[in-house]
């Protein structure tokens, strides 16, 4: 069973420390949620786990499958089984969704076997068609330029489509609910739930409790001032829904 183990993670951007000693362990098959007010470092955690070059790790380790992934490039982390659904997916003009996904799949195959010829076109088409049907996406979507001119809902659905196609073992969903209306939220959540199971560990990063009505976590963590300050079960999210973050601030502000 793979697990992602974050130990005493300290991260800075431009010399300013954002994460100040974060510990968290996610097992495959578990769904965790990290909640917290804006500016506490939730997205920094997501980007750092994926290996964005702007985030400097000053201390700590992140273990996955026997390796400290902090020493790996973003593409190696992805191929190892880590996935980040971006809060703001990036447009790649001129590159179609299909072409992009085929490149991503083939990169995995070539990393395993440099001689690999790549996925056969009919096999790829079938796979894509199946995943797109699951997410109720129009087939024309595959021919559009990736995230270029996509609506908020389309972007998030495209993220889940990528997740469905690449089959990660640990998926980090960074504010996946932002910018979604209720219908899009339901489709995206259903997609995530369909992919959930003993093979997938999920870390949902969210500001609001709303998404957790659809994606049910077993573990809820509250983040404040660059570290996790409270952990509990689903009831913790409901408590936040009712009482807001003020009590957390009062309790931990001096720490931050």
């Amino acid at each position: 069973m793979s697990q992602l183990e974050i130990k005493n993670l300290h991260v800075s951007i431009d010399g300013k420390e954002i994460l100040k000693g974060l510990d968290l362990t996610i097992e495959q098959g578990e769904v965790h949620a990290i909640m917290g007010p804006n500016g506490t470092g939730k997205s920094t955690l997501a980007y750092t786990l994926m290996g964005h070059p702007n985030y400097t790790v000053t201390e700590g380790e992140v273990w996955f499958k026997g390796k400290n992934i902090l020493e790996m490039e973003a593409d190696e982390r992805s191929r190892a089984g880590i996935f980040l659904a971006f809060q703001y997916p990036v447009a790649i003009p001129g590159v179609t969704v299909a072409n992009f996904l085929r490149s991503a799949i083939n990169s995995r195959r070539r990393a395993e076997n440099p001689e690999d010829k790549g996925i056969a076109i009919p096999e790829f088409r079938k796979l894509l068609k199946e995943k797109m049907a699951m997410l109720k996406m129009d087939s024309a979507f595959a021919g559009r330029y990736l995230n270029d001119g996509f609506s908020g809902g389309e972007k998030k659905r495209a993220e889940i489509l990528q997740m469905a196609t690449l089959r990660p073992e640990i998926a980090i969903l960074d504010e996946t609910d932002s910018g979604l209306d209720i219908d899009a939220l339901r489709i995206v959540s259903e997609g995530v739930n369909a992919l959930s199971g003993p093979e997938l560990g999920v870390l949902v990063i969210t500001h609001y409790q709303r998404l957790l009505n659809y994606i049910k976590p077993q573990f809820v963590h509250i983040m404040m001032g660059g570290r996790i300050v409270e952990s509990g079960g689903p009831e913790l999210a409901l408590h936040l829904e009712e009482h807001g973050y003020d009590w957390v601030r009062e309790k931990y502000e001096e720490v931050a």
Partner: protein, 445 residues
């Protein structure tokens, strides 16, 4: 044929201290034959014109200082026999379907192949020397018609001394389905001077691919100076694909102009990846009412290459449409220049002109200059332009890498995506594939 538009030539070249030295060519190098009067005139223009210097506006960004003028010699007949043979991959069809004809121009020779059926329909597709012998009237009707040798030193040089060339004539209302293909293969330390003449007669249509190439021969000094003169007569249609993959030691110069007459159409595609230095003047004359011309350019430079494309879209008649898109990527310490002009003549009302140049600079030492221009002398027109120079950005690359795509592959995807709008304009799968191969080759070296 409609009345010929006046080509205004402003000669700004003046002798200056920064000019390169003169070539070693002599008047006796002029070939005798049906074009000798034209060639003598061109020679006079050649001797009058100074070597271009950076004080000349058109040459401001392209310095010929290093041009080893005195070392260039013209190839003798049969010179190709001792030189590297033409690369086989250049002979494969690029446009849809098998070739209707193929010509390979070699230093001091040529091989010619034309489908008998096309020959039977009156299509002429042959090399310049053969055409001078067999079709003297046609050749005199075509040479000097769209490019005036007075337009520049290199135009005059190619006009007076061209050793090689193509003559393509498509008779009235003949629609040639199979594409025609020519390769100018220029190995060796020579001056390759070429002259292309194309006349697509009224109501005719044809696809023509012309490719200039040579092997990389470091240490050699090789020159190409070329003229391209094309006329697309009333209601005719030409798809013209022009590719250059000269070796990285080649100094490459060309003056090209296509005149498009009433209701005629031109689809002109450029692909440039080779040469040490290129200065190319490409002009579109929309000479008759309703004429349309599209120009699409692909270039990719690396090392210390310098490619300078000077384009001009001349709207000389009402209701004419032009649409230019040039896109280029740069690596290493290379440099590109694109200087474009849309000119709308007085009275050319209801003109629709567009030009855009986009550059993607892939290294800190590379530099792209992009200079659009408009000169509009009519009042009821729509002309737009755009020019951009951008860099490879971190966020798209990180996004692709986060999906498992390695850095080099991610860069390639972004670059391919950048060029996609050019691919979308190219009606030939083979040409698109060639450009994709160019990208792979440039990205991986």
């Amino acid at each position: 044929m409609e009345e010929k538009p006046k080509v205004v030539v402003s000669s700004r070249s003046r002798r200056s201290e920064t000019a390169a030295r003169e070539f070693a060519f002599v008047q006796a190098d002029i070939r005798a034959g049906v074009l000798s009067e034209y060639r003598q005139r061109a020679w006079q223009a050649y001797t009058r014109a100074a070597m271009p210097a950076t004080s000349d506006e058109a040459w401001r960004r392209t310095d010929l200082h290093g041009l080893p003028t005195e070392s260039f010699r013209l190839p003798q007949p049969g010179a190709y026999e001792d030189l590297p043979p033409v690369r086989a991959d250049l002979l494969r069809p690029l446009a849809d379907g098998q070739h209707g004809g193929q010509i390979i121009l070699l230093p001091g020779g040529a091989t010619i192949d034309l489908d008998e059926k096309l020959a039977g329909q009156g299509v002429i597709f042959t090399d310049l020397l053969t055409a001078e012998q067999k079709y003297p009237e046609l050749v005199t009707r075509m040479a000097g018609q769209t490019v005036n040798p007075e337009e520049g030193k290199f135009a005059a040089l190619a006009g007076s001394l061209a050793q090689n060339g193509i003559v393509l004539y498509v008779p009235k209302n003949v629609r040639v389905e199979a594409p025609l293909h020519s390769v100018l293969w220029g190995p060796g330390a020579y001056a390759h001077l070429s002259h292309l003449l194309v006349l697509v007669d009224e109501g005719a249509s044809v696809t023509y691919v012309h490719e200039s190439a040579s092997p990389d021969e470091p240490g050699l000094d090789t020159l190409h100076a070329g003229l391209v003169e094309i006329q697309v007569l009333q209601g005719a249609s030409l798809k013209f694909v022009e590719l250059q993959s000269w070796g990285k030691h080649v100094w490459n110069f060309s003056h090209e102009r296509v005149r498009v007459e009433r209701d005629a159409q031109l689809d002109w595609i450029f692909g440039a990846i080779g040469s040490h230095l290129t200065k190319n003047f490409s002009e579109l004359d929309l000479a008759g009412q309703g004429a349309q011309g599209r120009m699409s350019g692909f270039y990719f430079t690396d090392g210390n290459q310098h490619l300078d494309h000077d384009t001009q879209q001349n709207h000389l008649a009402p209701n004419t449409t032009s649409d230019l898109l040039f896109k280029g990527a740069l690596k290493g310490r290379s440099r590109s220049v694109w200087q474009g002009m849309i000119f709308v003549a007085p009275g050319a009302q209801k003109t629709d002109g567009y030009q855009a140049n986009r550059n993607l600079v892939l290294s800190d030492q590379a530099r792209a200059d992009s200079i659009p221009g408009l000169e509009i002398l009519a009042d009821d027109v729509r002309c737009t332009h755009g020019a951009t120079v951008g860099k490879l950005e971190q966020e798209p690359l990180f996004y692709l890498k986060s999906r498992g795509i390695p850095q080099a592959e991610a860069e390639k995807l972004v670059v391919e995506g950048f060029f996609d709008p050019i691919f979308q304009r190219i009606p030939f799968e083979g040409v698109r594939e060639r450009f994709q191969d160019y990208i792979v080759a440039k990205m991986s070296n």
